[in-house]
């Protein structure tokens, strides 16, 4: 039981740290980020890439966090 909890805790900590440090970087360099992300043209990919990156990293963190705090769906499967 304890081993299983540890197995879930490690990815949670890794993704959590990655997500938090990415957010920290955003706010340290917010002016630069805003400058480049609002230039249009080829720079249009900047906000989109950031949105994808954060949804992946932070989404993964959320996916590990929620079952950990007891939030899980009932998956209704057909009985065979």
């Amino acid at each position: 039981m304890k081993k299983e909890n540890n197995k879930k805790l490690i990815p949670l900590i890794i993704w959590g740290t990655l997500s938090l440090s990415s957010y920290l970087m955003i706010f340290l360099f917010q002016n630069e980020l805003l400058f480049y992300s609002t230039r249009g043209g080829i720079f249009s990919v900047v906000p989109l890439l950031f949105a994808f990156y954060f949804s992946f990293v932070h989404g993964a963190f959320a996916s590990y966090l929620l079952p950990f705090i007891g939030v899980e769906a009932i998956i209704k499967k057909e009985a065979h």
Partner: protein
């Protein structure tokens, strides 16, 4: 300000801990609601951002950019629960993209002609019209469903009539279990896109459209909407990004809260009765409409159409903000509470089933 020396437009707000926390909270509740009722937490987020001074156009653009990755996560979760009709989602999404293109042209024209105040007035007016009409209908339906104690959803008479229309191409949707003409799905998709580009919430047409016109259940309708939201959000965001309208800082703060919220909301749908999803949808729609009505005098006054004392304007503004916040909070409490209750009931019934098996 340091920002200005880097050439940052005055359109972008300065972030302080208070408005950051507010955005995080709004993002969480927006995500919770959108995971639960399918259509964007954007109707909560756009006014939420506008209430801390973000201009309407930037609020809509930044919202759209946070919406597509969130919708992607939500759609994937709900697809795993077997609730998504992918074919319907993709057909609606392609129609919606056309609608988005037209909607963005309208927004740009308004911004050019009347500036930020004109744009704010337009976004708010559209909110009020759509939310009041659709919200009333959804709310009435939820109340009727709850009263009849019939927990099983049935297609409306309108949906049955629509399904009998036979104009090719006819397409079979397996989650609805019926063949429907492309010429019925196309206008619903187009209007969904048009509204999405205008107020960043296409789902207010898409979800009720799928439920009441096409005959999908509320679970399938809300889940399929997430596919539409993803495709449409991606295309719309590219266009807004080209115009340099996305405040990526706001997008990412909202994303932080909403990615957690959307997963809780999606899980909650598996614990509650369908009428509750509709009840929450209608309840929130009507209260947000009320809050936006109070914001209109300020925009009218900025456009010099009416003249109001500064004190009166600020009182209206504060009341509008309070209604918004309380609505969010109430919506979140209803969802979380019903999930906890549903979960407890589920545990009890599975325990009883287990005892019976053992016997």
């Amino acid at each position: 300000m340091e920002g200005n020396s880097m050439g940052i437009l005055s359109n972008f707000i300065t972030l302080d801990p208070t408005n950051m926390l507010f955005l995080l909270f709004v993002g969480f509740v927006g995500g919770l609601v959108s995971g639960f009722i399918g259509s964007g937490g954007a109707f909560v987020l756009t006014p939420g951002m506008m209430s801390i001074g973000v201009p309407g156009t930037i609020a809509v653009a930044s919202n759209m950019c946070h919406k597509f990755p969130k919708a992607m996560v939500g759609a994937y979760k709900r697809w795993k629960y077997g609730q998504v009709d992918i074919k319907l989602g993709l057909i609606m999404a392609i129609s919606a993209i056309l609608g988005v293109q037209v909607g963005i042209q309208i927004q740009e024209a308004i911004l050019k002609t009347w500036g930020n105040a004109g744009s704010n007035l337009y976004v708010s007016t559209m909110f009020i019209i759509v939310l009041t009409i659709v919200g009333t209908y959804v709310f009435k339906d939820a109340v009727n469903m709850a009263k009849s104690k019939n927990t099983k959803e049935e297609s409306t008479a309108l949906a049955k009539r629509i399904q009998s229309i036979n104009i090719p191409p006819m397409i079979y949707f397996d989650k609805i279990g019926a063949k429907i003409s492309f010429w019925v799905t196309f206008p619903i998709g187009f209007c969904t896109g048009l509204l999405a580009a205008t107020i960043a919430v296409g789902g207010f047409i898409g979800v009720p459209g799928m439920i009441y016109i096409l005959g999908a259940t509320s679970t399938v309708g809300t889940a399929t909407e997430l596919v539409i939201a993803f495709v449409m959000g991606l295309v719309g965001s590219v266009k807004w990004a080209m115009n340099g309208m996305i405040d990526i800082r706001l997008t990412l703060i909202i994303l932080a809260g909403s990615l957690i919220g959307v997963q809780i909301g999606a899980a909650a749908t598996t614990f509650v009765k369908p009428y509750l999803i509709k009840f929450v949808m209608g309840f929130i729609m009507l209260l947000v409409a009320g809050s936006r009505i109070l914001a209109v005098p300020q925009y009218l006054s900025e456009l010099n159409i009416i003249h109001l004392e500064k004190q009166a304007l600020s009182a209206l503004d504060q009341t509008s903000f309070m209604i918004m916040s309380l609505t969010l909070l109430a919506g979140a409490i209803i969802i979380v509470f019903s999930m906890v209750r549903g979960k407890r009931e589920f545990r009890r019934t599975s325990a009883i089933a287990q005892v019976k098996i053992n016997d």
